[in-house]
Structures are given as C-alpha cells and as structure tokens.
C-alpha cells in the first residue's frame, strides 16, 4: 500500500528528471521559451514530487505520539488563525506586486506581459469576490 502511495511521486520525479535532462541534452536545438518551460516544469514537478517523497519518509518514521502532536498542530485554532492571517496578508502583497508589475510593463511597453499581468489582477479580484460570496453563505 505504501509502495503504491509512493509510486505516483516517484514516477513524477522520474518524469521531472527526464524532462530536465532532455532539455539540457537538446540545449540549443530547443528555442529559448521551450527550454525555459521544460526547465520550469521539471523544477516544479520535481520539487513537488521530492517533497511528497520526503514527507512520506518522515510519516513512516513518526511515533504515534509524534503523529498525534503533528495532527493536533495542524488543526490547532491558533495555528489555523495564523495561516489564515498570513494568507490574507500575502494576497494583498501579491496584489500590490501585480500592480507594480502592471505599471512597469506599461512603462516598458510590454504588450503581452501587460495583458498577462492585467489578467492576473482581474483573476485575483474575481477569486476574492467568489471567496467573499462563498464565505458569506457559509458564515
């Protein structure tokens, strides 16, 4: 069961390594954007898969007491409040950062990037409104 649980992250890690190696071997034969995407994907998938495998390893080594303590820390109301407040603040900082990038792209006349950043800002605000509506119904 444990082996099956680790199969997907292990396969993903293999895929990430393969993708990274392929991008490195192909080198100049790939265009810069394709190479960037390949390395980016390899890094993201590899990071996620490696963290899953590392967590699974620690999960096996925890004693029942340690596991109980970790589970308690996960649902502890102060920890939950800390995570929520941090996420809330982070969203605001991200929005300010996006606005900064938006004006920077306007100044530098980066057509596609201006559109992308604008879309990200709109999405951010849409997610915010959707979540406001969701929580208004819940609370």
């Amino acid at each position: 069961m444990k082996q099956r649980k680790n199969l997907l992250p292990a396969l993903a890690l293999g895929l990430a390594v393969g993708l990274g190696v392929a991008a490195a071997v192909l080198g100049d034969r790939l265009t810069a954007p394709v190479s960037g995407v390949a390395f980016g994907l390899a890094g993201a998938i590899g990071g996620l898969a490696a963290s899953r495998l590392i967590m699974a390893h620690f999960d096996r080594t925890w004693t029942p007491e340690e596991r109980k303590e970790i589970e308690r820390a996960e649902r502890d109301e102060r920890n939950v409040a800390i995570r929520e407040k941090a996420a809330y603040s982070s969203w605001y900082w991200t929005l300010y950062l996006l606005w900064g990038l938006f004006f920077l792209t306007l100044i530098l006349q980066g057509g596609m990037y201006t559109a992308l950043v604008s879309a990200a800002i709109v999405l951010h605000c849409v997610f915010y409104m959707v979540n406001m509506n969701r929580w208004t119904k819940k609370l």
Binding site: E69, R72, R75, D76, E77, R78, N79
Partner: protein, 67 residues
C-alpha cells in the same frame, strides 16, 4: 480580554501540556492564551471552562474596550 488560565492551572497543579492535551490544542496556544497574546474562540473558551468545571465568565474576563 484577560483570563485566569495560568492561575487556575497553578492552583490545580496542571501543566500547560496536560491542559493543551485535554482541550486539544498545542502547548503554544496555551502559552499565548496565558500571556494574553491570543483570544480563544468561543468553542475553545467553552472547552477550557468545562475542563476546569467553571463557566466561561469565571475563566475569561471580558472588558469593554474604549472606542
């Protein structure tokens, strides 16, 4: 909001870890409650009061804040 958690705990010789275990929070939360850095939710306040066999008002002291 202030509370009598530290006082009640010392009177009854209960450790922070024991109280945390009983009300299903971390010891750090008990420390923060005792220091007044964190205000308990109604649910946690209820659990703590119940643990000491008291009412919420007997453990937690609500003070009207100046506007």
């Amino acid at each position: 909001m202030t509370n009598k958690i530290a006082q009640l705990r010392k009177e009854r010789r209960i450790s922070q870890a024991e109280l945390a275990d009983a009300v299903d929070v971390t010891r750090q939360t008990i420390i923060s409650l005792e220091n007044g850095r964190y205000n308990a939710s109604l649910l946690l306040a209820h659990r703590i009061a119940k643990y000491f066999g008291l009412t919420i008002e007997e453990v937690f002291l609500f003070e009207e804040e100046e506007p």
